[in-house]
Symmetry: C2
Subunit: 104 residues, 2 copies
DNA sequence: ATCCAAGTACGACTGCGATCGTACTACGAC
DNA sequence: GTCGTAGTACGATCGCAGTCGTACTTGGAT
């Protein structure tokens, strides 16, 4: 059922390194990715607390989604966010691990 | 001798992942890094041709230098640019290789 | 000494993006 | 049905950064 719209995601082939790097370059988005990397699987977008407004959070999630870094799937009134670790590791082996290895 | 000023570089400990990602996120700078990665060692900054002005090139080189991605050392009237591959690999193992693995 | 080549410094312009508030939609619970 | 919750959409603001031109410095060649 899930009448909430499915948001568009780039296929693995459509992911561009410039977009990935640009998306990761923002502190808020980098923090989101870090947290997502520690979580087992799939959390609601809003469950990660950030010192920004709701609309700004949506903006960052869209940037990450359109870059191909996260996947957002509808689930009732919420949306479940997961890291596209398999796609990123396949395209840029070591990149994500390298970023996550950084002492924050 | 080399009376040209030595430009400041961050130590390995001072390199921050946000600055690195931000520096790599620009297409011109990413291209510079790609080219530097293919070259054996040390080329003059200006030898890599780009469709931008001299001052813009300087701007990008400074951004890369201040982020800790390249090292610039004076050599007569020119300046030799090298990739700080050792520092980057030590700090973020796999990151640089992952970026360079991207089909451009 | 003169000139050129390589690069930096500085100021100006301009567009992009991070931020916000408000309004709106869709689902679930009651 | 009504209400609350989760999120998107849209428009506005505003600072940062990519771009340029010009002026300046330094070193090497002539």
């Amino acid at each position: 059922m899930t009448a909430i719209a499915e948001l568009p995601h780039p296929t693995r082939e459509d992911i561009r390194i410039e977009a990935v790097l640009h998306a990761l370059a923002d502190p808020m988005r980098l923090h989101l990715v870090r947290v997502l990397a520690t979580l087992p699987e799939g959390v609601p977008c809003g469950s990660i607390e950030l010192p920004i407004s709701k609309s700004t959070r949506t903006h960052h999630l869209r940037t990450l989604r359109e870059a191909g870094i996260i996947r957002i799937r509808p689930a009732g009134t919420a949306r479940i966010t997961t890291l596209r670790r398999d796609d990123l590791d396949a395209l840029y082996p070591g990149l994500l691990d390298g970023v996550l290895a950084a002492r924050q």
